[in-house]
Symmetry: C2
Subunit: 411 residues, 2 copies
């Protein structure tokens, strides 16, 4: 049955609420004028509340990757030892950026699908210190979009602090912050990066960073070249209610509106909604026989990666899903063709997950796959409402062995 | 009399046509999906037609300043001799970016308000060559937004070609391209940068660059560090109908719509409209007694800078203009407080200029200034229709001495 509606279930850009869409159509204003200054006066404190920080917030006109670059080039000098803890494609990208600008990067790679462990992080730092290369910064990913794994940043940051108290803790929080609990100041994070097109229910175009006093002090000394991404220029302009270069004004309008919606809903409710959607997605996919990539203990509540089952041609199946109105994401980097991903962040409710599973289930059945029609919906609804009621999402539930995936080994 | 309408007459962001505004409210799509690939398939060729080039076009999610940085870091190595021809604040910025990344920059500064001269450019190159520092690139500004001067890029580029045939010609065309005649291939330009919020009638958030085969060859050798702004990554992704990092999708929607509007109007008609608006603005301001900054021979048809007359407090007068619905821009850099600027680019007609002059005229009269009510409107209408009919804009008309500005000397 064709579906009249489009279901955008990729991990960003995420769907926009109507009020956010409407703000995208507002007429331009002067970004050096009073309307924009008033907007900055609302948006920056709202972001501080969302980040749970009293650190300075800056808005930069770029994607999240631009934010990662800003996080690197402002605080490091060529030759600086850096530890990059990478659990997937975006962790690798963060390390690559630092290397590109001449940092002396040691990577701590973790099997894709797993979270980093604080002991391993501490050990890596101890090894670096023993070599006389105490890290100036540790780069970490909060929520790895390529694998659907959420790192336990609180304990990882604590491990960094104990092993290298002077190292800056620099966190890519692009695809998690705003959707799942996060505590910039409580966890002692120095630089935190996010992007407008993720949990924030806003089109892409803005990256938002929180910068600690320690990180500003490091910025004074850091010699990596920077101009567009110079965060001090952004901070100085922000004090005057503007940005150093012309900002993406319409995306700023939309962020202002979206932050209002988020505060009206309340972050606890937002987190419960994402927990429900995450649990429902995992349970629904598992009921359909898909094997999930992520270690259940660290499964992300914003994106889920599932293996493409043996014998299913992803390209043509995905095209069929698109015809039915469901847009999913493929695998990234070394997972291209191996997994597909379902985004469940931002403007998403349990009903959206049920709609996506319904399309997926029917398409599988029509493709001649063994499907117990309705089973994924029932499983998802159960898991979703349990998670929303505060039961720990099905973290400890064993993953159901997949009838679609027999004989396939984990990548 | 309060004005019910808002008149955004700054040199970017520029007002949006209704169809462009509507596209800003469209729901998100996957930037790796077929809808976005189709958009890229329309936008890139339309930009090639607007740039008059067969060179590769790339879209980067950033302001024009980000585009200038991309134009520097992709084609140069630290230590490379570079000539930066600067006629204002944006020319200075271009030079500063190159210096920031370690280029050996020689500036050829031109008095603010004047255009660069081909002879001076050739001489500067000859001097650099005599010192064994033949420039790897020459940076130039097409339309200097801070002064309202349009450089004669055709003859300047020819001068570079004859004095240093191997030097890349790198042009900041941010605030002119799309509004006034421009010929990337005819003028032999290697890198041309523009920004969505100028002539393109689109919100800020995108910078668009045309890159010649010579510039791509230079990119292979150039060692300045780059990641987000790596144009090769953008070109490679463009061949697959996407971008390497998440693009500002809504701004891309809007650019697609705006380019359709521009092609429907036709570039000759767009250029005539800007010539009319430029001539009308200059004639209207002159009739009000404002002295203009720009050399009349090179006055910009997209932005006009006028001196703040003696005895007029710009800050409070500007606030009064804003109360009446007119948003103008102040001076930049060393012209802060000295000049104000009127933007007349993008979605602008002669009527908009008349409306702005009407507000300005009435506010001046209410401030007790000697104003012959209606005089600027008559002068603007006359100059505008003459310019639209193809008469060379009032380039050779003597500037009327200003009754408001007696005794003031040129900055």
């Amino acid at each position: 049955m064709p579906n009249l509606q489009a279901h955008l279930r990729v991990p960003g850009p995420t769907p926009l609420p109507d009020a956010v869409r409407a703000a995208g159509a507002w007429q331009m204003v002067n970004h050096r004028g009073p309307e924009f200054a008033a907007l900055m006066g609302r948006v920056l404190p709202a972001l501080q509340r969302a980040f749970r920080t009293s650190n300075d917030l800056v808005l930069v006109g770029a994607s999240g990757t631009g934010g990662l670059e800003a996080a690197v080039v402002n605080h490091l000098s060529p030759g600086d030892p850096v530890l990059a803890v990478t659990i997937g494609a975006f962790g690798d990208r963060f390390a690559k950026i630092a290397r590109q600008y001449g940092a002396d990067v040691t990577t701590l790679p973790v099997d894709w699908g797993r979270a980093a462990e604080p002991g391993a992080v501490a050990e890596a730092i101890v090894r670096m210190r023993a070599e006389g290369r105490s890290p100036v910064a540790v780069l970490m990913t909060h929520n790895e979009t390529s694998t659907g794994v959420t790192n336990p940043i609180a304990v990882l940051a604590a491990a960094v602090r104990s092993a290298a108290p002077d190292a800056l803790v620099v966190v890519d929080a692009i695809s998690g912050l705003g959707a799942v609990p996060f505590d910039t100041d409580g966890w002692g994070l120095d630089v935190v990066v996010t992007g407008s097109q993720k949990s924030w229910m806003v089109p892409p175009g803005l990256t938002m960073l929180a910068v600690s006093p320690r990180a500003w002090a490091a910025q004074e000394r850091a010699t990596m070249p920077r101009f567009y991404f110079d965060l001090r220029a952004h901070r100085d302009a922000a004090t005057k209610g503007s940005t150093p270069w012309t900002p993406p004004v319409s995306v700023c309008f939309q962020l202002d509106v979206a932050l209002g919606l988020m505060e009206a809903e309340g972050y606890d409710s937002i987190f419960a909604r994402h927990a429900a959607c995450g649990a429902a997605t995992r349970a629904g996919l598992a009921a359909l026989g898909f094997r999930l990539l992520a270690d259940p203990e660290h499964a992300s509540n914003t994106v889920t990666a599932a293996y493409v089952p043996e014998g299913l041609d992803w390209k043509s199946f995905n095209a069929e899903l698109r015809r039915r109105g469901l847009a999913l994401a493929g695998g990234q980097g070394r997972l291209t063709g191996i997994v597909f991903r379902v985004g469940h962040l931002g403007y998403v409710t349990l009903d959206d997950i049920l709609a996506a599973l319904d399309i997926l289930e029917e398409a599988l059945a029509d493709a001649g796959r063994p499907v117990d029609r309705g089973s994924s919906l029932a499983a998802a609804a159960r898991a979703g409402s349990e998670a929303a009621r505060g039961r720990v999402p099905d973290a400890t539930d064993p993953v159901v062995p997949s009838p679609l995936d027999a004989g396939r080994t984990r990548a």
